[in-house]
Structures are given as structure tokens and as C-alpha cells.
């Protein structure tokens, strides 16, 4: 399985903090995004936001990054700390 986590405004828009997908369903971060978008109209709209960032195992990555079972994949809005 792949663990997927959401943060900040994205988590609130989805009303979901985490989610799991079978590793066989997705090869890349973009594949995961597509699968999540396909869940329903609300999620599709939320994931159409092109400014969303992604991380795999706590490192920022782009959509072509490969994923495997046991990975933790995160999606979140641009960061605003400091």
C-alpha cells in the first residue's frame, strides 16, 4: 500500500487527512493524483489546482517521481512558514 497524506487548505477542502492506495495502482506521483481526481467532482476540482506541491518520503518531488509500496506521498499547497 501507499500512504497518502494531505495538509493545510488541501486537507480542509478534501475533508480528509489521509488515504491509502494499493501500490499496484500507480507508478508515479501523477498517477496517484489522477486516481484521487477520479474519485469525485469535488476532488477533481481540488486536484486541478496546478500550484499543489508533492513530497515522497519527506522529500519534495515532481509528478514524474516513481512510487512504490510503503512510500508516504504527501500533497499540499505552497508553503507559508517563517
Amino acid at each position: 500500500m501507499i500512504k497518502i497524506v494531505f495538509f493545510a487548505a488541501l486537507r480542509e477542502q478534501l475533508d480528509c487527512a489521509q488515504f491509502s492506495l494499493p501500490a499496484a495502482d500507480a507508478k508515479t506521483v501523477n498517477d496517484i493524483k489522477q486516481l484521487l481526481s477520479d474519485r469525485n467532482e469535488q476532488w477533481q476540482q481540488t486536484f486541478s489546482n496546478t500550484s499543489l506541491l508533492s513530497a515522497v518520503n519527506h522529500d519534495m518531488v515532481d509528478g514524474n517521481h516513481l512510487v512504490k509500496s510503503g512510500d508516504e506521498v504527501a500533497f499540499f499547497p505552497p508553503v507559508t512558514g517563517g
Binding site: A55, A74, V79, G81
Partner: protein, 156 residues
């Protein structure tokens, strides 16, 4: 002695204590540069009452550690300390601290600014502000600023 370089915490910090830790038994560094970020009472013309800081535990520490390693690769640094607070904060509260020591001031100034600039665009923190507008209270997540990205890009 400075035990760890990164601290993510809900509680406040003391600038004097942090400077003391950077300086304690440190006779090689002639420069100590510190930056403290605080909660402003205004943003985009709105009156901010409180600020809530969320982060991504695990990734936050990892991203800050990477930023510190990059800073040490670029400049000759002695000690480094980064503190970031999370949770609910009020106007005037301290949010972030970056302290850097070096033999000479140029490296300490540059490294401190670099760490803050990179923290702003790479460390997974998000601010939600509670604002009061004509007596009505609402809350919203802050948008990232292009100016922060542009500033960080200047270092690459």
C-alpha cells in the same frame, strides 16, 4: 552546549538563551547573527487577531536539516540554530528564530539570510490567519508570495 540545530515547538523561546547557547564555549567565532520573526497585526489590509501554524512532522525537520547542510557547504559556519513555532500564536509572538555563528560577519549574515529565504519556500509550514473585518471574524489560509520564491531563487 548547543544540543540540536533544529527545534519545532509550541512554546516560546528566549533570544538571550539562544544567543548564550550559540556563544557558550565558542571562542573561535567572532560573529553571531540572529533573526527573529514575529506575528504582525496586519496582512493585506486585514486586521489579524491570531495565527495558527501547521506543519508536516518529519518532513519539516528533514527539509530544515537539508537547508542547514547547504548553508554549511556555501559558507564557513560555526553553530547554527533554527527554531520554528507551531500551533496558535498571537500578535507580537515570536514565530521563528535563525541563529548563525562564524569567524567573520559576512558568512554569518549571508548564511542567516539564506536559511530564512529557503525556509520560506521549502519547509512545510502553513499559516492560517484569523482576521476581523468590520466586526466580523473569519479565517483563511495565507497564500504563498511570489516575492518569497523570487528571493530564494537569487541564491541559486
Amino acid at each position: 552546549m548547543l544540543k540540536q540545530e533544529i527545534s519545532i515547538q509550541t512554546n516560546d523561546f528566549s533570544l538571550a538563551d539562544e544567543v548564550a547557547l550559540l556563544e557558550e564555549d565558542n571562542v573561535t567565532d567572532g560573529a553571531v547573527v540572529t533573526f527573529t520573526g514575529r506575528v504582525r497585526n496586519n496582512n493585506n489590509g486585514n486586521s489579524v487577531t491570531t495565527l495558527t501554524l501547521e506543519h508536516y512532522p518529519g518532513m519539516t525537520e528533514k527539509s530544515l536539516a537539508k537547508i542547514i547542510i547547504q548553508a554549511k557547504d556555501r559558507w564557513q559556519l560555526g553553530r547554527v540554530k533554527v527554531i520554528h513555532r507551531i500551533g496558535e500564536l498571537s500578535i507580537g509572538d515570536q514565530i521563528v528564530f535563525v541563529g548563525v555563528t562564524s569567524k567573520h560577519r559576512q558568512d554569518a549574515f549571508a548564511a542567516n539570510e539564506f536559511i530564512m529565504d529557503y525556509l520560506k519556500v521549502k519547509a512545510p509550514f502553513w499559516k492560517k490567519e484569523q482576521i476581523t473585518d468590520e466586526g466580523k471574524t473569519s479565517e483563511n489560509w495565507l497564500d504563498a508570495k511570489n516575492s518569497d520564491t523570487d528571493k530564494a531563487d537569487l541564491w541559486s
